[in-house]
Amino acid sequence: MGLRDVLFGRKKLAAPARERLFALTTAAVTLDTELGLKPAGVGAICFKPLSAGDFARAASDVEQLLDSIAAESGSKLERRDDTFGYSWVIVRDPQLEDQVTTVHAVAQGLAEQGFGEQLLAAIFKFDGGTNPVYFVYGYKRGAFWPFVPTGKDQERDNAEELELKAKLEGELPIEPDLSRWLALFDAPL
């Protein structure tokens, strides 16, 4: 955020940071061997659709893009809109690498059509602990953070999350600012 933005107000959303999504595949080894957490076979990417104009025109392209990615990767893709007005593409694939690759391809496709700024987050699910563990990747930050909902109403297990942060800091770009650890309680996966 530069002086220009302060003086005249922001005119654009921040562009996505340099993508570091693939770091998760190496961290997954540690998650498995040290913590017994295994990929649950589902990930998703979340973005904010824009207007009826530009975006609607691109929407049909997005459908095409999803079809071609699905055909190429063998992942199962599903598109869903949530109550907050965000769109989700849910990726089902037993292999974490394929999930990550597919999510990357969707993000890439959206960015190529000029909607990189609309990308919010990607999320990957892991099983094996007391609660399911999610790793959220923030596109604006270019970093991951853990998200462990306890299953009770809107409650997250902060102790577990901080432990995961400590364990994975060496291998995964973890968002250092805790106030940016967005919760995604209603993620449709």
Binding site: V6, R10, E112, E155, S179, R180, L182
Partner: protein, 303 residues
């Protein structure tokens, strides 16, 4: 493909430069006159003003929250509000601010805090109750844009010398009353306190108008920010319409209670038709709607 920036309003940017420049020029003239005529006593006064400005700047969040009677709420008290703000923050690349609720039925919202890390966003219970979720999102995005644009900092800097001028005006008044003229050195000259008094009063009046003008421009900028974050300016438009029409219906007693908070609110609580636009800290509703409509058109969205 690179997408163009929406709401790129060259006119607004120019007007901001012009007003900022005028204010800067005014302050320079003011400072020069002060140093010319008033060699002593200026330093302690500057120290006091700087101290005051810093105090205001550093406690802006606590002051505003306390003045409005807002109560900071945790996630379990308002889970939907928290979830909404979190997503907007992630979209706007901001850290999550504290979230507060003002227990009043007047639908409104404000943001405060000297920087994004110390920010707080407050909504009134009435806003949460009366508006649709998408409209609330538009309002919250407007407040978060104030945070992103560092409006507390901008307004503190803009009003710094106005504070000094205001103080000198009062000072000059006392000097005039008790100093008996203060023209001991030279009987032919205009007394020093009178020059200071007149210059200060002029500075204060002109800067007051300029500051309000800047405040109005910041509102347009925050409206634009909201449109960009939510990608849907029409929800903010309907929210603004709803809020302002609700405002008219509320009895005057309620309005006076919240009057001190006007500069922070998304829509000022008292709506006086007679007031000229020049003296208002918020632009008129029609102009805000027109600006948002323009952004909507740029986004290719029918309104």
């Amino acid at each position: 493909m690179k997408r163009k920036a929406y709401g790129r309003d060259a006119g607004l940017t120019l007007r901001m430069i012009f007003t900022g420049g005028m204010l800067g020029l005014l302050y320079v003239v003011f400072a020069v006159v002060l140093f010319q005529v008033l060699n002593v006593g200026l330093v302690p006064m500057l120290v006091i003003i700087i101290g005051l400005a810093f105090f205001q700047y550093y406690t802006s969040d606590k002051l505003a929250l306390a003045a409005s009677g807002a109560k900071v709420v945790e996630r379990d008290e308002a889970p939907e509000l928290h979830a909404m703000v979190e997503r907007l923050c992630a979209m706007a690349d901001l850290p999550k601010p504290r979230i507060a609720i003002v227990p009043t039925d007047v639908p409104n919202a404000f943001a405060t805090g000297r920087n994004p890390k110390h920010a707080a966003v407050a909504v009134t219970a009435g806003l949460w109750r009366r508006l649709e979720p998408k409209e609330i999102e538009g309002v919250l995005a407007h407040e978060l844009s104030h945070v992103a644009n560092r409006d507390v900092l901008v307004m503190t800097v803009a009003s710094f010398f106005a504070m000094l001028a205001g103080m000198l005006t009062r000072f000059g008044l006392y000097a005039g009353m008790w100093g008996g003229g203060g023209n001991r050195d030279n009987n032919n000259n205009v007394p020093v306190w009178l020059i200071v008094f007149v210059v200060s009063i002029l500075t204060y009046l002109i800067s007051w108008i300029l500051i309000r003008t800047i405040s109005r421009y910041r509102e347009y900028a925050a409206d634009r920010g909201s449109a960009i974050i939510t990608g849907a300016p029409e929800h903010l438009m309907s929210a603004l319409q709803k809020i302002s029409s609700e405002m008219f219906r509320i009895p005057q007693r309620d309005l006076r209670e919240v009057q001190a908070m006007n500069a922070f609110f998304i829509i000022p609580a008292s709506v006086k038709h007679a007031t000229a636009e020049l003296f208002m800290d918020h632009p008129p509703l029609e102009k805000r709607l027109a600006a948002l409509e323009q952004i909507a058109r740029e986004m290719g969205r029918p309104v």
